[in-house]
């Protein structure tokens, strides 16, 4: 079967217009909502009502908006980590596991305890932060090392390690550190809680009930630091070079294996810090299901943001909204489906950036 015309792709030789990457990303998000609406409608749902609810449940009030930022916080950290790894063409989908390991390591400070619980809050929290970073980094080291040393596909190893981390966590919260047989640890002492805006409600009544916590500052600082590293440091240059042209990097004498391991460790460390921020800022204990697929959403965030640290923050807020709204609407898989559709459309729309698409009539070709 031959159509009377065919679609021809020609590689772009000119610079891409500045607005195009942004336009394709926004277009992908809008199209994802439309497609999801059609799927919803096809199974007898009312997309307009659901999306209206979606919007109200997420941007309807200051309280709801603060919830979004709280949900966006781990996404910012994880998204930054993933985007760093992607720059070297390493796909870290193990942020979920690194998040759990970070949370576990940080919890040890309180659970063992590593410092007496009457120590100053700054000491306890910074130690927890260090432990969270350490936990994530150790867990990121494994796939990085296996990739560098044995050329083992990091997508699969990081994914397998996610399952391992969840079971590891369960072992401790069901067993030794269980709170009277429940599947969680006892609530942490107050010294191990990240400060919240709600703590200031006495002086400023506006803040009462606002759940926003200090973790978001970690995310913002990390974004700035990462941007500086990538833009101005030698290490950032090496990472970008390896990502763009591994051969050239090798000839330039850059140690690729070492960078692979290092990048995975930093990526894991950021996810681990996200885990620490979540348990000290939100749940205040170690328990099951502290992550609502943050690890996977983080991958999508990184791609949608085209690996730009500041755009990661914006996209994380959008995804935070998806998660907040997704908690309350049925069917429960909807926010997951929208996220998947967004990612799929983003990568397919990349073709628009690399190629000029034209429709050629077959007759003209023959003539």
């Amino acid at each position: 079967m031959k159509l009377p015309f065919r679609i021809q792709l020609t590689r772009r030789t000119e610079e891409i217009p500045k607005w195009m990457p942004l336009a394709t990303s926004v277009g992908a998000v809008v199209a994802a909502f439309i497609i999801s609406g059609i799927v919803l409608w096809s199974i007898g749902g009312d997309p307009i009502r659901v999306f209206g609810f979606f919007f109200r449940a997420s941007f309807g009030s200051w309280g709801a908006f603060s919830d979004i930022i709280v949900k966006a916080t781990p996404l910012i950290l994880i998204g930054l980590g993933c985007s760093l790894a992607f720059r070297m063409n390493m796909i870290n989908i193990g942020a979920e596991g690194q998040f759990y390991m970070g949370a576990f390591f940080a919890s040890l400070v309180v659970l063992v305890p590593l410092v007496p619980m009457d120590s100053p809050r700054v000491l306890v929290l910074s130690l927890m932060g260090v432990m969270g970073i350490l936990g994530g980094a150790v867990y990121g080291f494994i796939p990085g090392f296996l990739k560098a040393k044995f050329n083992v596909n990091e997508v699969i190893t990081t994914l397998m390690l996610n399952y391992v981390a969840v079971f590891w966590n369960n072992y401790w919260i069901f067993g030794k550190y269980s709170d009277a047989g429940f599947q969680m640890t006892p609530t942490f002492e107050k010294v191990a809680w990240l400060p919240r805006l709600a703590d200031l409600a006495k002086q400023y009544p506006v803040f009462s009930g606002i759940t926003l916590h200090l973790g978001v500052v970690f995310g913002l600082v990390a974004a700035v630091v990462l941007w500086l590293i990538l833009k101005y440091s030698r290490w950032g240059y090496e990472i970008n070079l390896i990502g763009d042209n591994p051969k050239a990097a090798e000839y330039a004498g850059i140690n690729i294996a070492r960078n692979m391991i290092l990048v995975m460790m930093v990526s894991g460390a950021l996810a681990g810090l996200a885990g620490m921020s979540e348990i000290t800022g939100v749940v205040h204990r170690l328990q099951e299901r502290i992550s609502t697929n943050y690890g996977f959403s983080g991958v999508i965030v990184a791609w949608l943001a085209k690996l730009n640290p500041f755009v990661v923050i914006l996209v994380s807020i959008l995804f935070g909204a998806l998660i907040v709204a997704g908690r309350e609407i049925q069917p429960s898989g909807l926010s997951f489906m929208i996220q998947g559709t967004i990612l799929f459309l983003v990568i397919s729309s990349d073709v628009l950036l690399r190629y000029r698409i034209s429709i050629v009539k077959r007759q003209e070709e023959i003539a």
């Binding site: 796909i91 994914l159 898989g333 997951f336 489906m337 996220q339 990568i347 990349d350 073709v351 690399r354």
Partner: protein, 321 residues
Amino acid sequence: MSFEVILRAGLATGTILIFASLGEILAERSGVMNLGVEGMMLIGAMAAFKVAFTTQNAWLGLLAGILAGGILSLAHGVVTIHFQADQTVSGLSLTFLGTGLALVLGEGLTGKNAAILPSLDIPLLSSIPWFGRIFFTDFNILVYLGYILVPLTWFYIHKTRPGMHLKAVGEKPSAADTLGINVYRLRYIYTFIGGCMAGLAGAAISIAISPGWYSSLTTSGQGWIAIALVIFAHWNPFPAALGGYFFGMLRRFTLDLQGPMTFLGMRNPFFYDHNLVFFLQMTPFILTIIALVWGSSTARRKRRGAPAALGVPYIRGERGL
């Protein structure tokens, strides 16, 4: 806990992994790596269960499951073959997409009873002493299909002309193209077949081997284990099948190990401390990593392994493979 029980359970649940692995072997042999197996399996499992539930006809369910996996894989085909997007990321997003779609479309199916595919004895073969009882008695029909597909796939890849074309497209597409083989078309076809096989694997879960719809727990990471098996098996059907059956047995073994008070004459720790079971549940995932390391390093040592053009888009008229 008996060896025979574990072996039979392994043959049954291993079939699921084998379908998915065989499909992935075919797709990857053509040069298209599809990491969306988990998503395609889940959508296949959902579609099969939904259709088998509404029509109460398991065969229609099977067909729906196979097609659902195949159709989803075509999205990957378009994006990677024509748009030349990164295969790893595309496959990953296919997993998200398939999982999300399956969860939305499968809403409300949990706990329902669908028609399931029949189990049967193979005449004659089942009357062989011991052997027949273990391998050819009272299995779901799909388990026997697995027995057939493994050698058939091997024969197809290594002994037939279309199989030769398949390998050529995956190893050196430009050479295949000059010989008049349509690289794009073959890659689409094998991506589609891979998707259909993943859909079949999903259907094998939901309407045959462990029937039911348990949302994302239905597949619980088996799609990823199937991909790892492909690498471990160096893209060959027989080692993949052995690995599949082994993982099936392992799954049953870790379940059964929780029962007895003693094991091999020793005090069974898993009986006394139930929380240690979490470590048992880790084993398939840790073993998958070990299998990957082993597979990758032997592939490197023996200079054998991945199809040369795996993951590389083919662009007619440009330099490259």
